[in-house]
């Protein structure tokens, strides 16, 4: 019996050693980034890498703001990610409602089609959609960054799964009272799927906020539309001289911290949404 207890305690110790060891590696790059953002250029390129700056250079943070249009990147990212999120919420919940609760010709085929669109990689669409944007004359405004992402197969799938769990009786009662489908959608469906909408909103927003390839292509001709990730990728151009190179890391802090802090607040909704939308038992 004693031996068994000893083994159990040993296993518990190993368990926490693994967790903490992993957590150390997860934090290390962030810790180093923050520390390096306060270093002088000499400290950053010294042969013996430093873990902490001799004297924190808080001025680095002021310098960055003076040299790159960080606020503009923020504004662009916010407009694009926010608009895409609103559009995806609307289109996904509408289509999800149709697939889950309405009966019409071609429903199964269309739903299979929506699912299969998820298998198509983005690189197939780069050339034709860029060409479309050029035809529409949207390359110099936000539409080119927003409209191509207005519908998400994943979002439709998520909403459909969630709306399926709403009992039909509820909708039939409303129908007997003479409610039209639009009214059912706005007064019954939407309020009931709020948790799933929250999850989809967070997923979409984060995805768009971090999206890089498409904005990189579109904004190559329209610099004032550049989003945060495109801005980050051009930091080495903005800070190319030896005296300014260290500011790249300071600029990164500006871009990493806000998302992490926002998520600290949103994590609850995120996890709850996953559990509620039945991800556990697909």
């Amino acid at each position: 019996m004693n031996r068994k207890k000893a083994i159990r305690i040993l296993l518990e110790i190993i368990r926490y050693v693994i967790i903490v060891f992993g957590a150390f590696w997860m934090i290390l790059p962030f810790f180093w980034l923050f520390s390096a953002s306060l270093m002088t250029p000499e400290e950053l390129i010294s042969d013996v890498p430093k873990w902490l700056p001799e004297k924190p250079q808080w001025n680095n943070y002021v310098q960055v703001l003076k040299r790159i249009p960080l606020l503009m990147y923020y504004k662009n990212s916010f407009i694009v990610a926010g608009s895409v999120t609103l559009l995806v919420l609307a289109t996904s919940s509408m289509a999800g409602f149709a697939f889950a609760k309405l009966r019409f010709f071609g429903r199964k085929v269309l739903f299979s089609f929506v699912l299969s669109t998820m298998m198509f990689p983005v690189f197939i669409f780069l050339i034709p959609v860029y060409y479309l944007m050029k035809l529409f004359g949207w390359l110099d405004n936000y539409l080119s960054l927003i409209v191509p992402f207005a519908v998400s197969g994943y979002g439709i799938f998520l909403m459909r799964q969630f709306i399926l769990t709403i009992p039909d009786e509820l909708l039939d009662c409303a129908r007997l009272d003479g409610a039209k489908e639009l009214k059912i959608y706005t007064t019954i469906i939407l309020p009931l799927i709020k948790p799933a909408l929250a999850t989809l909103a967070i997923l979409t927003f984060i995805g768009q906020w971090n999206s890089f390839l498409w904005p990189l292509i579109v904004t190559s001709t329209a610099q004032r539309l550049m989003t945060l990730p495109v801005g980050i990728s051009r930091l080495s151009l903005a800070f190319s001289t030896v005296e300014t190179q260290h500011l790249i890391l300071t600029a990164l802090v500006y871009q990493v911290i806000p998302m992490v802090v926002v998520f600290l607040y949103l994590q609850r909704y995120y996890i709850r949404g996953f559990v509620l939308s039945g991800f556990g038992n697909l």
């Binding site: 509408m94 089609f113 929506v114």
Partner: protein, 307 residues
């Protein structure tokens, strides 16, 4: 991912009244979108892949070259290398991420401070990949990077993480796994919460230790979740662009170039739209076959999450 099963269970399905008008009205925005941004582009791309076109003239004036782009690519060392990189990247990243995330999720589930641990592991998921690539680029520096100084601490030789063509891809895979663990962990955790505690209690009474419980209860009951992670993980990994593009710019001779990057460079830097489209479709064929293979394997294992 063919059609999904209707939910079975307590909700009894009554026959819905056919309402074609309302159905299509609610689908209208999505259908309009898919015809402009999905069907048209796919057809357009297929046509482009048989032309020599630089996007500066109308497509109708481009010269047709038949399937010569495809035959060129299939014997082109650059493209085959790109294809190989993408395959290695996808296989390694998806499998490592899921295995590590599964182990960590089980260890952290019900652990003390589990919310804190989950938050720490999740932080990279909300960080732009471009930023992650840049930070790790610094950590991987050959002479004054943090990793090589840690190696030196243990008396080991420095590794040329991003400049040695045999190592660079694996360095990027390490970063990708580091960045992806948290997201998979979260979904696995949601799956763990759905496994009834009774199963574990019964196993304990029968004398099953934690390892047996893991392999005989946790893994089988999580398999639909794992299938979901595998399928979505591969879809994401095939398209990878951000990390290789930000970290691999100093890697020699395209040793870390992926298909997305290849398409980007061929189309938007060299303006060879035809060749880029053909390359995109070639990888798509690989992806398509691969997805069918995964679904078949899982189905043979008795998992029908996506029927």
């Amino acid at each position: 991912m063919a059609g999904l099963s209707e939910t079975k269970g307590p909700v009894r399905r009554k026959k819905l009244k056919t309402n074609t008008g309302a159905g299509y009205a609610f689908l209208a925005p999505a259908l309009l979108f898919y015809s402009i941004f999905f069907v048209y582009p796919v057809v357009f791309s297929l046509i482009v892949s048989t032309k020599r076109w630089n996007m500066l003239v109308p497509l109708s004036r481009a010269r047709s070259v038949g399937f010569s782009h495809y035959s060129y690519l299939l014997s082109d060392q650059v493209f085959l290398g790109v294809l190989r990189n993408t395959l290695i990247y996808a296989l390694a990243t998806v499998s490592l991420t899921i295995v590590i995330a599964l182990i960590l999720a089980v260890l952290i589930n019900n652990a003390k401070l589990s919310v804190l641990w989950r938050f720490i592991y999740f932080a990279p998921v909300v960080t732009p990949q471009v930023a992650i690539g840049t930070i790790w680029g610094y950590l991987y520096r050959p002479n004054n990077g943090l990793f090589n100084s840690i190696l030196r601490l243990f008396g080991m030789k420095p590794v040329y993480w991003l400049t040695d063509p045999n190592v660079a891809l694996f360095s990027i895979i390490i970063t990708a796994v580091w960045a992806g663990i948290g997201g998979s962990m979260l979904i696995i955790t949601a799956g763990l919460k759905n496994i009834p505690q009774d199963y574990y209690d019964a196993a304990k009474i029968d004398g099953a230790g934690p390892f047996r419980q893991f392999f005989y209860i946790t893994v089988p009951l999580l398999s639909p979740t794992l299938l979901f992670l595998t399928a979505t993980g591969f879809i994401g990994a095939w398209q990878v662009f951000d990390l290789p593009f930000t970290m691999g710019r100093n890697a020699p001779a395209r040793s870390v170039m992926t298909v997305s990057w290849y398409v980007y460079e061929t189309a938007f830097q060299s303006l060879r739209m035809g060749r880029a489209s053909a390359g995109a479709f070639l990888l798509f064929c690989v992806i398509f076959g691969f997805t069918l293979l995964i679904l078949w394997l899982f189905r043979r294992g008795g998992i029908k999450g996506y029927e």
